[in-house]
């Protein structure tokens, strides 16, 4: 496989990749540590960044070649008609797995709910609605929930949950951005009453006895998209071979991540100081502990269920959510154009085909993929 996916010609094979220290950056870290990048003829430097805005800006300014990025940020980069935005357009041809977020409530909010957590969405929705109505009646301030970025699946999953519970996310509650690493602190200090975040921060809040897991992202939308491998549109256009080699190496990493016996190595690698810089036990717990229904806790899939496929339907859903959250510019590019530019499944199909024809042995057992 490595031979076919090795870039040829004049393409540059030294690449700078950005990531945020989160569990779902695993494909990048695994591809580096297991040597999948090297196999594909790529010399990759991984850069840990401090925030999503910085990752987005560095990609736009071409200071890095690719990044582990919130899927909605790629879609959003294509929406503006402004001439300055054209040079900053991002695109993706690889999804970095599905699911992985959860909603955690503060101890105070949990107590007010009067139902045991975790609960099903059918129990939780009405209980939360009752708390919100009661606060309104007593003139108490709105409940505030933390998200990691305005344009993120975290925001949209929260909003979807509220809407399904007949709670107006524009009126009845507040949604505020809190960096993941400050989430537990914000919950403890009462700055937020709950939050939606990826791992290991939910597990961290529970371990510190500062919050209670209320719901998984999976409960709101099974197999929801989350992060993608984002590149500048110019990179995808001008260095197609390198782009495909990169996707090939990450596909291997995703496949390996979903395979047997990967957990210990993943926890060991990710915990390193230059990556997540955290306790490897915390990572194991975050990945392994079963949910109350007996299923794996996060339902995080990296490869199965077409988890790597950049699905244009996902981009369409995100656009609808951006509209509802009033995040879109007034004059904007038509939706179909945005989706075509932001999500490029044809590149994924090309790489995937090469991979599966080269190595039948590595073909996933899942018939869907």
């Amino acid at each position: 496989m490595s031979n076919l996916l090795t870039p040829q010609g004049t393409d540059c094979t030294e690449l700078n990749l950005g990531f945020l220290p989160l569990l779902d950056a695993a494909p990048l870290i695994v591809a580096q540590e297991a040597g999948f990048f090297a196999d594909a003829g790529l010399q990759v430097h991984l850069h840990r960044e401090g925030n999503w805005a910085s990752l987005r800006d560095k990609l736009s300014l071409k200071l890095i070649d690719a990044a582990h990025l919130l899927a909605p940020l790629v879609v959003a980069s294509q929406t503006s008609l402004a001439s300055t935005a054209i040079r900053n357009r991002l695109t993706t041809a690889l999804s970095l797995g599905l699911n992985g977020n959860a909603i955690t409530f503060s101890n105070a909010l949990t107590a007010a709910l009067g139902c045991a957590l975790p609960a099903t969405q059918a129990e939780l929705g009405p209980a939360l609605k009752a708390v919100i109505d009661d606060r309104l009646k007593r003139g108490l301030p709105k409940l505030v929930f933390g998200t990691v970025f305005p344009m993120s699946m975290h925001t949209y999953l929260l909003r979807t949950f509220f809407e399904q519970a007949d709670i107006d996310p524009n009126q009845d509650i507040g949604i505020r951005v809190v960096p993941p690493q400050q989430m537990v602190g914000a919950l403890t200090q009462g700055d937020v009453d709950g939050f939606c975040v990826g791992e290991p921060w939910n597990t961290d809040a529970v371990r510190a006895c500062q919050g209670n897991l209320a719901l998984l992202g999976y409960d709101i939308w099974p197999d929801a998209p989350e992060k993608v491998l984002a590149v500048h549109a110019d990179f995808a256009e001008q260095q197609p071979d390198t782009h495909q080699a990169l996707i090939g190496a990450l596909l291997r990493a995703c496949q390996w991540l979903d395979g047997p016996n990967s957990l210990a190595s993943v926890a060991h690698w990710l915990a390193k100081p230059n990556y997540l810089n955290c306790d490897s036990d915390l990572l194991l717990e975050a990945m392994q502990a079963p949910w109350h229904d007996g299923q794996p806790r996060w339902h995080k899939v990296f490869y199965r269920n077409r988890a790597t496929y950049p699905n244009p339907d996902h981009a369409r859903w995100m656009l609808t959510q951006m509209q509802a959250a009033r995040q879109l510019p007034e004059k904007r590019v038509p939706d179909t154009e945005v989706i075509d530019r932001a999500y490029q499944p044809e590149i994924w199909e090309k790489v995937f085909k090469k991979m599966t024809t080269v190595s039948k042995a590595e073909t996933p057992t899942d018939s869907e993929t």
């Binding site: 960044e49 401090g50 925030n51 999503w52 805005a53 910085s54 800006d57 736009s60 300014l61 200071l63 300055t84 040079r87 900053n88 990691v148 970025f149 305005p150 505020r176 951005v177 809190v178 960096p179 993941p180 690493q181 400050q182 602190g185 914000a186 200090q189 700055d191 995040q327 007034e330």
Partner: protein, 188 residues
Amino acid sequence: MNILVIDQQLERARILETALTALGYAVVIRSPDEHRIYQLVESFQPDVVIVDAQSPDRDMLEDVALTSDRTPRPIIFFAEDDDDTVIRDAINAGVSAYIVDGLQASRVNTIIKVAISRFEAFQALRGELRKTRDELADRKVIDQAKGLLMKHRQCDEAAAFGAMRKMAMNKKVRLVEIAQDILVLFDE
């Protein structure tokens, strides 16, 4: 003018504070253990926020900029790259300005001025758009009122418009305000 400085390197923040204070700006440095950035922005009402590019707080500021249409603030941040094209690209991309590491006090004032003027140009553009939209909305109200007058007074368009203009001049108010009164009067 109020400037909020958010930097994980307190020493660098202090250098900036000294330089900015000497230039006559009111400066607040966010302490590292302070989580409440929303409250800080609310209470201090900064005109400019200078933030470290690597700070996790940048994502919160994105939210503040997106949600507070009323009091937007230019955001300037430190970059590791001492590269003029990067700075220029960043400014063109809407990031108000980049301050590179090893900043000199003498450069700070110039950069802040450039950032503010870029930001004001952008705001002016947004203001222009809003003005046009308002004018369009006014036009619709005036047309509606004119139609009502024509119907109720059984007069032609020119007469209705003339009557409205005369009322506006007599009362020394804008035409659209007369139009709104007419809509209320005829309960539309």
